[in-house]
């Protein structure tokens, strides 16, 4: 089946089978390997992308359902000139990552969260990234990053 959607601001057309998951399509067919796959049970959040502005798990989304949708992956956050998104910059500055496996999903969840909660408390920030597991950091610096990123997003707006 040929499906067409907007990926990171550019229209794409890609041939998919009914069972192809969005995570596999962006990684294998469209060459964007920033979206990670960390589990089989829809629990880890490494695969989070935005569909029509909402964060969702791309490992649990059939690509065929996306005809006409707007999809943003981690690759679509930085500006074309390479300037990091304020949330990416905050993760960098606050040491919000170690191995980096969870980071793309973490950042995508955080951007969606901060756009709805521009000034979160630490508890709210932690609840906002509940669907993202990190096996390295212990979450402390991730929560700091989310708060700093939300603050930077307020300024950019």
């Amino acid at each position: 089946m040929l499906i067409q959607f907007v990926l990171n601001g550019k229209p794409v057309a890609v041939d998919v089978a009914a069972y192809d998951l969005l995570a596999d399509v962006v990684r294998e067919k469209l060459g964007l390997t920033g979206t990670h796959i960390g589990c089989d049970t829809s629990q880890c959040g490494a695969c989070v992308v935005h569909i029509d502005g909402r964060s969702v798990k791309s490992c649990s989304t059939l690509a065929v359902t996306l005809e006409g949708a707007k999809v943003t992956t981690i690759e679509g956050l930085a500006s074309p000139s390479g300037q990091l998104h304020p949330m990416q910059q905050a993760f960098h500055e606050q040491h919000g990552l170690q191995c980096g496996f969870c980071t793309p999903g973490m950042v995508m969840s955080a951007v969606d969260f901060a756009s709805r909660n521009p000034n979160p408390t630490p508890a709210e920030a932690a609840a906002g990234i509940e669907g993202n597991f990190c096996r390295c950091t212990g979450y402390q610096n991730i929560v700091k990053s989310v708060i700093a990123g939300a603050a930077a997003m307020r300024v950019v707006k």
């Binding site: 089978a17 089989d40 798990k57 649990s60 969840s109 509940e130």
Partner: protein, 264 residues
């Protein structure tokens, strides 16, 4: 995942016809339960009928003393709805506490109750509030909808179109979450309805159930103190790696008291 046919109807009638034609076809809602199950080959439907393109299944309406939630309404939208927050805040709280933000951005009311996971949250609200489930064929009272573990009164090919929740005088949901899956290890929904006090328990047994012994105590005196000597029986409750039947029985008591305390 095994291959299947993908169908995208735009009306309930069309969806019903598609499901009626193929016995192994299944509706697809948010896919948050069905897709993982298909990945693990616990489910292998030959066709998926995607309900996302059926506008009449989505949305929240207030009608007199009821709130009608469409089957395809996402948990995030129920949690954020000003009407639900105003009229049945406990329902908004429940929806806002399901899984995580990404599960709430896709998962739906219809998918949750059709699936009837023993640890799901929505079945407790539907049962305690004495709601009515509407399908493409009939109306089903909550008391006869949830029939067993992952079992409901739905017939093959029947589609949940929405749920009508009567507005209660007061209601509260208390959940003890599994820290890993975030489903209810036990969840208790207490509602003061026109038909009396109703208490529904999820997560504790193979299927959501009404705790009639607790209901009678609360009908006499609606206070946490009235439950002070409550020892909920562990017979028939689940024992698994997350907790044994005694532990769950204890949680039923604790969570009921917390819910009642919230309302007094």
């Amino acid at each position: 995942m095994l291959n299947f046919e993908y169908l995208r109807p735009s009306t309930v009638t069309e969806a019903g016809a598609m499901l009626g034609k193929m016995s192994e076809a299944r509706p697809l809602a948010g896919g948050m339960t069905l897709i993982p199950a298909m990945k693990l080959r616990l489910a292998a439907p030959t066709a998926l009928v995607d309900l996302a393109g059926v506008p009449e299944l989505n949305g929240i309406k207030v009608d007199g003393k009821t709130v009608i939630v469409g089957a395809m309404t996402k948990h995030a939208d129920v949690a954020a709805s000003a009407d639900v927050r105003r009229l049945i805040p406990a329902l908004a709280d429940l929806a806002g506490g399901i899984g995580d933000a990404q599960v709430r951005n896709k998962g739906t009311l219809g998918g949750s109750i059709a699936n009837n996971d023993p640890a799901a949250c929505y079945p407790a609200a539907v049962l305690a509030l004495g709601a009515t489930v509407t399908t493409n064929r009939r109306k089903i009272a909550a008391d006869s909808f949830f029939t067993g573990m992952f079992e409901t009164a739905l017939e093959p090919g029947e589609i949940v179109t929405g749920v009508t929740f009567p507005v209660p005088a007061a209601a509260a949901y208390e959940k003890f979450r599994s820290p890993a899956s975030r489903y209810a290890l036990v969840g208790v929904f207490v509602a003061k309805t026109t038909g009396g006090v109703r208490v529904a328990v999820t997560g504790a047994a193979t299927c959501v159930f009404r705790a009639s012994a607790i209901e009678s105590i609360l009908a006499e005196k609606f206070s946490a103190e009235a439950l002070a000597s409550l020892r909920f029986p562990a017979d028939g409750l689940n024992s698994d790696l997350h907790g044994d039947a005694q532990y769950r029985a204890q949680l039923v008591g604790v969570l009921t008291k917390r819910a009642v305390a919230k309302l007094s």
